[in-house]
Each structure stands twice: as structure tokens, then as C-alpha cells.
């Protein structure tokens, strides 16, 4: 074989380090275009579903906000601008805090533990350029939901407008430049929390390298906890007449920390409200504050990256031990004992899946945070809704009925929230489980066990976790709402049906449509199979709740005050229950049977 090998450059030809800022922008654009094209070619349905879902979510947010702002305008609570300013201050402050931590955590993953940065760091790219490239990606990833939810809300505010000066006069709508300036406000604003999160990430990695992940998580969870506690304490102090001007004025006082002139959230809300009120001077002033400070913080953070990024990369890579030793854990042993009734092979598979899940905090931390927030909400239900026992026993029948109607609706909604959490859990964590076996799947394929058992093992693991989470949540909610025993039993059965049904669907569809090429579970979950699984899960959820729980809430629960219930209504509730259980059994058996058949035919 003859080869013409190029000769090396002489030593004098060492070029200066790269200074083209557009190189990474061109890379990002090319990746974006190619990804979009590949997505359309591979799965147009997926793109269609994403667009439809985004439109529906944005439409729902717009609808709710439109109703809310119209209500406030009609109550003349938008007159002085204090109430919308308070609402926007609170919203932007909460988003600011969330963006600080989400950007910090995303940036940590992409700057210090991704294969791409390892590659880029071995190239002559300047540290601050690599940092800026990854920073922009992290900002876009962490704030897309902010833009998706924030835009329709502010558009609704502009379209509802301010009330006319006198009763009967038409509302004063926001001018055209209010809508034109919204993207400028959003993009300027996200620079501030994004830069703070990035600076926090760099400082933690450089100066507390050993416990960096734990510190970021503890900080994030502490802030979420504090914000939640404050939120519920505010709600619990508001009484029935919440829509009066006095209550609103009292509430304004609770938000002073977010209304200081040095808080970026306040610049944002002042700027948006000024634009809607056609006050160009204030609009320009606040927009300049946002962009001026945002760009300054971005420059400071990028400056930090010049000195700290490579140093931090080195510290992350060498901060811990070369090889960490993992051993048995009491949780694995406990699970193994609990599953003593299962055959040994299936039990081993379940414990293996649990061990893998346990060792990946990125997976279970999300479940812990969402379950924690729901627990906090359910535990505070009596404070939030101020159910009054004295009114119940001594009050008028009308008051009693209102009380029951409220409990009835809230308990059904809470069960719906729990079911949605279950659906997210099974789509995000259970569906990718089989795919995550990846190219190692042949190891399981060669084991001396029936392939059906692989599937049943994963199903039992998924269903056990789902049952534990969902039943605990729904029981806590029902106990706090003092739902009658029959209602609690019905919720327990409904949630059990949902937990095992959703687990069966996710495991079965996961076996029918595996993606062995992908190693990132979040990417598997948003693929075509994952999207299909999510849609199937949501449909199953709606059917189950409609048949099993909704009839009782419509017919039986309102009758707890002693009203007469017809035998036909009781029969309807019972039939609904039976149909729901049958749907649940079908949701387990059909996907698992089809999945098992697909697995038996699979070649490795």
C-alpha cells in the first residue's frame, strides 16, 4: 500500500490562539439545521406532536391568564398597577431563582462531564469561548419553558388592557411596541440569572470541588423549600374575601423583598407594565437596566471563566479518588427481602434495576423534588383552604354544601395531579429502562432465563415504586381533606390501577420500540416511542379517572350531606369502577404480551 503522507509544518508556523467568535455560532446553527432535518425525515409525527403540545400549553396559559387579568380589570385591581406589579414581581423573582439553579446545574453537566467539552478542551479553543458556547446552550435549554409560559401570559396582559378612566369606557389596550419589546425583555432578563448560575457553578467547582454536586442540590432544594414555605404562608394568611382591594393591598406588603429597585425581577415587571401603559421613558430605562446589567454580568462571568474554567475542569477530574468503590447497600438487601415471594432470577433483575436507578442521582432527584413539593402542598391543604369545622357543624346547609363541594373538587384534582406525576415518572424513567440496556443487551439475552421474565421483572420494579409513591401521596391528600373512608378506598383502588397500568404500558411499549443506540434516558424519553408512550399514558389516565373516580365525585361525594342518591347513580359508579379495572388489566396485559413477543423475536 503506497501512501502520500503530508509533511509537517516548520516550527515557525505556530498561529496565535483562535479568535473567531462566530465559529461556535456556525457550529450551533449547523447542528440545529441538521437536527431539524433529521427529525423531520425520521419522525415527522414527533415534530408535529411537539408543536401541537407546545401550542396547546401556550394556548391554555393564555386562556387562564386572559380570564385572570379580565377578572382583575373588572374588579378594578389593575387601576393603580400595584397588583399586576406584585404578581409580575413574584413571577419573575421565582423564575429568576429557578433559572439561577437550573442554568448552574445544566452548565455543570455540559462544562465538566460531557464528551464534547473534553474534545474541545484538547483543541486550541480559548477557555472563555468554549465556556460562552456552552453557556448559551445552557441558557437556551433552561429558559425555553420560561419563554413558552411567559409570552402568552404577557400577551394576555396586553390584550386585556387597563380599565377605562370611567365606568363603561373601553379598556386601554397595550400599544404595538409592547409586544415587539417582549422578546427583548425576555432575552435580556435570562442573562442575569443565567450568568449568576454560571458564576456559582464555576466558583463551587473551583473552591469546593469535593462536594460540588451535593452543594448545588442542597442549595437548589433549600431555595425551592423556602419559596414553597413562603408561598403557602402567604396563602394561609389570606381569608375568604381574597379579591377585595384591602386584601390585595395587604398582600402587596408580603412581596416587598421582590419589589426593591435593585432586584432584576422588579426591573422586568416595571418595564413590562410601563410598556403596556405607553410610558416610553420608564420602558427604555428598565430595558436598559436589564440589558446593561445582564451583559455586564455575562462579561464578568466569562472573565471568570478565563481563569477558572480549565482550572475547574482539572479539579473536577482529579478532585475525587481515581476509582470509587461501590458495595452492597442496605436498600438493595431490603428490597431483595421484600421481594422474597418472587422467583430468584426475576428478583435479581429487579434489584439490578433498582441499584442502577439508585446510583444515578440525576434520575431519582427529580422524582424526590416533585414528590416533595406535592407532599408539602398536600400537608398544607387545611391551612390553604381554611376548612372550618364550626361552620360545618353549626353553619347553614348552604355553607356545608360549599365546603363539601370544595373538598370534593380538590381531592379529585389532587388525585389527577398524582396521576400526572405517575405518568411523567413512567414516561421519563420506566419507558427508557429496556433501551438503556443498550448494546449490553446481549448479556441479558444470553442468560438462561425466559425473555418474558426480563419484562415482568422490569414491570414489577416499576409498579412497586409507582404504587409506593402514588398511594402515599393520595392517602396524605385524602387524610388532610378528611375524605370519607369509602372515598379513600376508591382513590386507593383508582391510583393502584393507574400505577400498575401505566407501568405495564411503559414497559410494554419500551420493549416494542426500544432505542439501543441512545445512552441518555431523557433523549430516549423524548424520542418517537417515548412520545407515543406519553400520549398512551395520558389517554389511559383520562379514561381511568373518568370511569373510576369521576362518577363517585359527581354523584356520591356531594350526597355525603345526606341527599338522596338514586340506585341508578350507584349502579353507574359501580359499573365505572369495573370498566376502569378492566381497562387497567388490559393496559398491563396487552402491552406486556406484545412487548414480550417483540422481545422473543429480537436479535442481538
Amino acid at each position: 500500500m503506497t501512501l502520500e503522507i503530508p509533511t509537517a509544518l516548520p516550527s515557525a508556523s505556530v498561529a496565535a490562539p483562535l479568535r473567531s467568535p462566530w465559529l461556535f455560532q456556525r457550529l450551533r446553527w449547523r447542528l440545529f439545521v441538521n437536527s431539524g432535518r433529521a427529525m423531520v425525515e425520521a419522525s415527522g409525527l414527533r415534530l408535529f406532536v411537539i408543536l401541537i403540545c407546545s401550542t396547546v400549553v401556550a394556548g391554555c396559559v393564555f386562556g387562564v391568564c386572559d380570564v385572570g387579568f379580565t377578572f382583575l380589570r373588572d374588579k378594578r385591581l389593575l387601576d393603580t398597577g400595584e397588583v399586576p406589579e406584585m404578581l409580575f414581581d413574584l413571577l419573575f423573582f421565582a423564575l429568576f431563582m429557578m433559572l439561577v439553579f437550573s442554568t448552574g446545574l445544566i452548565l455543570y453537566g455540559s462544562l465538566f462531564s460531557s464528551a464534547e467539552t473534553g474534545f474541545l478542551m484538547s483543541m486550541p479553543a480559548r477557555a472563555d469561548q468554549v465556556f460562552a458556547y456552552k453557556y448559551q446552550g445552557a441558557i437556551a435549554f433552561s429558559s425555553w419553558a420560561f419563554v413558552l409560559l411567559g409570552c402568552p401570559m404577557l400577551v394576555a396582559y396586553g390584550l386585556v388592557g387597563l380599565p377605562g378612566e370611567h365606568a363603561g369606557e373601553p379598556a386601554l389596550l397595550a400599544p404595538w411596541y409592547f409586544y415587539a419589546l417582549l422578546p427583548l425583555f425576555f432575552f435580556g432578563f435570562v442573562l442575569l440569572p443565567g450568568s449568576l448560575g454560571a458564576a456559582l457553578c464555576l466558583l463551587v467547582v473551583n473552591f469546593v470541588p469535593r462536594r460540588r454536586k451535593q452543594i448545588m442540590w442542597v442549595l437548589a432544594i433549600t431555595v425551592i423549600g423556602l419559596v414553597s414555605f413562603w408561598f403557602y404562608s402567604v396563602l394561609s394568611t389570606t381569608r375568604a374575601d381574597v379579591w377585595s382591594r384591602e386584601t390585595a393591598q395587604a398582600l402587596v406588603g408580603r412581596f416587598t423583598f421582590a419589589q426593591r429597585t435593585i432586584t432584576p425581577s422588579h426591573w422586568m415587571s416595571r418595564g413590562v407594565i410601563s410598556a403596556a401603559a405607553r410610558d416610553l421613558d420608564q420602558t427604555a430605562y428598565n430595558l436598559a437596566l436589564i440589558w446593561g446589567n445582564g451583559l455586564f454580568l455575562y462579561l464578568v462571568t466569562t472573565g471568570l471563566a478565563v481563569g477558572l474554567y480549565r482550572r475547574g475542569y482539572n479539579r473536577v477530574a482529579t478532585g475525587g479518588e481515581l476509582r470509587r468503590r461501590y458495595g452492597g447497600h442496605w436498600l438493595d438487601q431490603a428490597l431483595s427481602r421484600i421481594l422474597g415471594f418472587v422467583d430468584a432470577q426475576t428478583r435479581l433483575l429487579i434489584v439490578k434495576d433498582f441499584r442502577t436507578f439508585r446510583r444515578d442521582p440525576k434520575q431519582w432527584a427529580q422524582v424526590v423534588i416533585f414528590v416533595g413539593l406535592l407532599c408539602l402542598y398536600f400537608a398544607n391543604l387545611p391551612n390553604i383552604h381554611q376548612f372550618d369545622e364550626s361552620e360545618q357543624h353549626g353553619g347553614a346547609l348552604a355553607g356545608l354544601r360549599t365546603e363539601w363541594a370544595e373538598r370534593n373538587a380538590i381531592s379529585l384534582l389532587n388525585m389527577g395531579a398524582t396521576a400526572l406525576l405517575l405518568c411523567t415518572y413512567t414516561s421519563r424513567f420506566i419507558y427508557p429502562m429496556l433501551s438503556l440496556e443498550g448494546r449490553k443487551f446481549w448479556i441479558l439475552g444470553l442468560l438462561p432465563l425466559e425473555r418474558d421474565r426480563l419484562l415482568w421483572g422490569k414491570f414489577m420494579f416499576a409498579a412497586t415504586a409507582a404504587l409506593l409513591i402514588a398511594e402515599s401521596l393520595v392517602l396524605l391528600s385524602d387524610v388532610m381533606l378528611r375524605i370519607p373512608l369509602i372515598g379513600i378506598l376508591l382513590h386507593v383502588v383508582t391510583v393502584a390501577t393507574l400505577a400498575v397500568g401505566l407501568s405495564g404500558l411503559s414497559v410494554g411499549i419500551g420493549a416494542c420500540l426500544p432505542n439501543f443506540r441512545e445512552t441518555d434516558p431523557s433523549k430516549i424519553a423524548v424520542g418517537f416511542g417515548g412520545t407515543l408512550n406519553l400520549i398512551a399514558g395520558l389517554l389511559f389516565l383520562m379514561v381511568t379517572i373518568s370511569f373510576m373516580a369521576a362518577p363517585w365525585h359527581m354523584v356520591m361525594m356531594p350526597a355525603e350531606d345526606g341527599s338522596y342518591v338514586t340506585p341508578m347513580a350507584v349502579a353507574g359508579v359501580v359499573i365505572g369502577l369495573l370498566v376502569g379495572v378492566a381497562t387497567g388489566i388490559a393496559a398491563i396485559m396487552v402491552p406486556l404480551q406484545v412487548g414480550a413477543a417483540a422481545l422473543r423475536k429480537m436479535e442481538f
Partner: protein
């Protein structure tokens, strides 16, 4: 061209590289051998400036990696054992990106990309997205990217994994000719036959320490064994292992 001066690198309490000193001249093909976990990959990461030494100094092309890393990396090409490619770029787009990264003029870039496509026989798949590439196709693309800007130092980690015999032969010719043309080649490998065939000098590292360094003849002399490189390697590393165990027992 490559200088390591008393370089030590620790991971927490573990020492991955222990007082390593090495000097490799321009145009030399240096094979770096060692058992698993001996410190080869850590040494390579130190040479690329991905990691900084805990103590000691690393210089490549006359530039200190810690203080002038960007300049040093301008003369280095690194081919890792697990090749990285952007999955949503085609091979050609990836090569263009690398060329721009090294500041190549457009005409020069187009010409060099065509040369590399021909040299590594990439024409059948160069315009496909790299997510569809096999390991061998990825490895060939990464090699073509590494040579695109005509580096003065080529650092290669386990280059033959996943390559078919024809590609291995192509690679061996390529590495030797690169060295002959003045490029310093630092080759980390477990393939002792490749090291034996190609290397001007061989360094053997074990438990972070350079236990032997020189030509194959010098290594044979040190091991007092007139066998293949495999025999020499096994004898030297076994002796070190026994020495370390002896030190541990006496301590």
C-alpha cells in the same frame, strides 16, 4: 518537542503519575506502554493540557501547558481511544469545523479536506451524518481531522481498536511517515507488535512510574532477556509488581 519534568499527578489520595521525566525529540515515534491503570491516559491528558500536574512541568513545542496551553494546543493533535464526533454533523462538516478551529484559510481547508478524504478513503460516507458511522469509520474521520492542520505533535491513544486489517496497515504507514517527516508521534498502545514495528523508543510505565525507557535493544538489555517486546514487557512489569509488593510487606 515534548518535555515532562518530574511530573506528578494525584487523584485525591491516589497517585496516577509519579515523578515522570521524559524528553521526546521532533521526528521521533515514541511508544508509551503499560498495564491497565498504569497512568498512560493521565499522562496523555497532561500532554494535551486537559489536566494540570500536581507538581512538575509539562512543555510541548516549547510552550508550558499550564501557562501557554492555547499556543501549545495549536501544534498538537490528539486522537483519543473513544473518538468524539458531533452526531448531527456530516464528516465533511466536522472536518471544516476543525479546519476553522485551527484558523486555516478557506482554499487551504478545501484542498486539505479533499486530501484527507482521499488518504483515509472516506468518500463513501463523508457526506453522511456521523451518527450513522461504525467505530472504524469514526476512527478514520477523527484521524483525518487530526492531520488536517499538519500538527507538529501527534498524540494517539489506542489507535487500532475497532479498525479492520487494511485500516491498521494504513495507520501504521501513516504514523511512521508522519514521524519521518518531522512530526513527533506519542503513541499509547497495548498492541506490542505495533510498538515493536514502529517505535524509535519505547517507554514502559507501571503504577505511575516510568520503569523503563529506550530503544528495544536497551529494554532487552535492562530486562536481561533477548526475546520479543512482549516477553520484555511482561518481565519488566512483573519485576516492578514484585518490588512493590515486597516494599509493602517490609513496610
Amino acid at each position: 518537542m515534548i518535555e515532562l519534568d518530574e511530573v506528578t499527578k494525584t487523584y485525591g489520595v491516589k497517585t496516577a503519575v509519579d515523578r515522570l521525566s521524559l524528553q521526546i525529540e521532533a521526528g521521533e515515534l515514541f511508544a508509551f506502554l503499560g498495564p491497565n491503570g498504569a497512568g498512560k491516559t493521565t499522562t496523555i491528558k497532561l500532554l494535551c493540557g486537559l489536566l494540570f500536574p500536581t507538581s512538575g512541568r509539562v512543555r510541548v513545542g516549547g510552550f508550558d501547558l499550564q501557562r501557554e496551553g492555547d499556543k501549545a494546543r495549536q501544534v498538537i493533535s490528539y486522537v483519543p481511544d473513544q473518538p468524539f464526533l458531533y452526531e448531527k454533523l456530516t464528516g465533511r462538516e466536522f472536518l471544516h469545523f476543525i479546519a476553522e478551529m485551527y484558523g486555516m484559510a478557506r482554499e487551504q481547508m478545501l484542498s486539505r479536506v479533499d486530501d484527507m478524504v482521499a488518504l483515509f478513503e472516506l468518500s463513501d460516507f463523508i457526506d453522511d451524518l456521523t451518527e450513522r458511522y461504525s467505530h472504524g469509520m469514526k476512527q478514520r474521520t477523527v484521524f483525518s481531522a487530526a492531520l488536517l492542520h499538519e500538527p507538529r505533535v501527534l498524540i494517539v491513544d489506542e489507535p487500532t481498536v475497532g479498525l479492520d486489517p487494511r485500516s491498521v496497515r494504513l495507520l501504521k504507514n501513516l504514523l511512521r511517515k508522519q514521524a519521518d517527516s518531522g512530526v513527533t508521534v506519542f503513541l499509547s498502545t497495548h498492541s506490542l507488535d505495533i510498538a515493536e514495528q514502529l517505535a524509535d523508543r519505547i517507554g514502559i510505565v507501571d503504577r505511575g512510574r516510568l520503569i523503563s525507557c529506550g530503544t528495544l535493544a536497551a529494554l532487552r538489555k535492562q530486562a536481561a532477556l533477548d526475546g520479543s517486546l512482549e516477553d520484555v514487557f511482561l518481565k519488566l512489569t512483573t519485576e516492578t509488581s514484585q518490588d512493590v509488593q515486597g516494599e509493602a510487606v517490609s513496610a
